[in-house]
Amino acid sequence: MGFESLRRSLLAGERVVMFTRADGAGLGARMLVWPDGRAEGALGEADLDRKALALATAETLPATGLREIEGVEVFVETYEPLPQLFIVGAVHVAIHLVHFARRLGFRAVVVDARSAFATAERFPHADELVVEWPADYLARVPLHANTYCVFLTHDEKLDNPALQVVLEAGVRYVGALGSSRTHAKRVAALREAGLADELIDGIHAPIGLDLGGRKPEEIAMAIAAELVAVRNGRQAAGKR
């Protein structure tokens, strides 16, 4: 049933559309189509296969659901790559945030220039652990509309240049930890660096939904909750 191919694609973070016949005659017949036009399997009728191929290679991928194609009921599943979360700052909160974020379906990458913090021992659960200046790293990885960035270092040397990179790239979410005083300083520094106000206003600060917690795991949960709210379209960018 194409399970192995689907499995490989999902683990590789590929985009793929799976068609499964849901009608009596061909129940369970299956075809997988990748947006580049590669296909595997067949639905049992040439017209049907052609239509499925066209749907899965169109600019807008079909929504997951049952649909009628060439008079046949077909269940369509569109798999998008996981949203990626970059956590700048391998701090205590980050350890908990990686747990929550992965459980919630984010690919979690931790970045910090300080090798004392960014250790495999502290982050065995991260999808990736990067010891590098965050601004350098974020400037060379693909940042797309499904990218979320959280800044936790408390160190403006690390945070601010990296903040500038992701704000200019136009990612889905940018949040930065810190008191309102810290944030005011940050805003001033970013303005000084020439960043437009409407970009700066996109930073979620104070970061996280207001759960009233102070412990690292509570702060991590507040941030994770905000990521979910944004992913589900429940919260616009900016201050809460």
Binding site: M1, G2, F3, E4, L6, R7, L10, L11, T20, A22, L27, G28, T64, G65, L66, F75, E77, Y79, L82, G105
Partner: protein, 104 residues
Amino acid sequence: MLDILPDVDRWRADGQRVAVATVIRTVGSSPRPLGSKMAVSDAGSIAGSVSGGCIEGAVIEEAQSVLEDGLPKRLSYGISDEQAWSVGLTCGGEVEVLVERIDG
């Protein structure tokens, strides 16, 4: 799908046969979105879910026969169904599920 993969991989590595149930249609309020999956092994292990717990028992039973003969099944559950007496949906909606065996 990703949520059930670790369990499915482990069961298959152990040589168990596995069936997967997918929510393909919902009417009214339903606890799990389209495409949600539950995996069932022939040893009786379960991963994931296709409802808030109201139809899982019935689906698991059907999955055992799919594991036996390898023939996919399309099942519907809901208040309009006579099965409602035994496996009524607390949410009052309708759910259709496709169950198939993983063969490769």
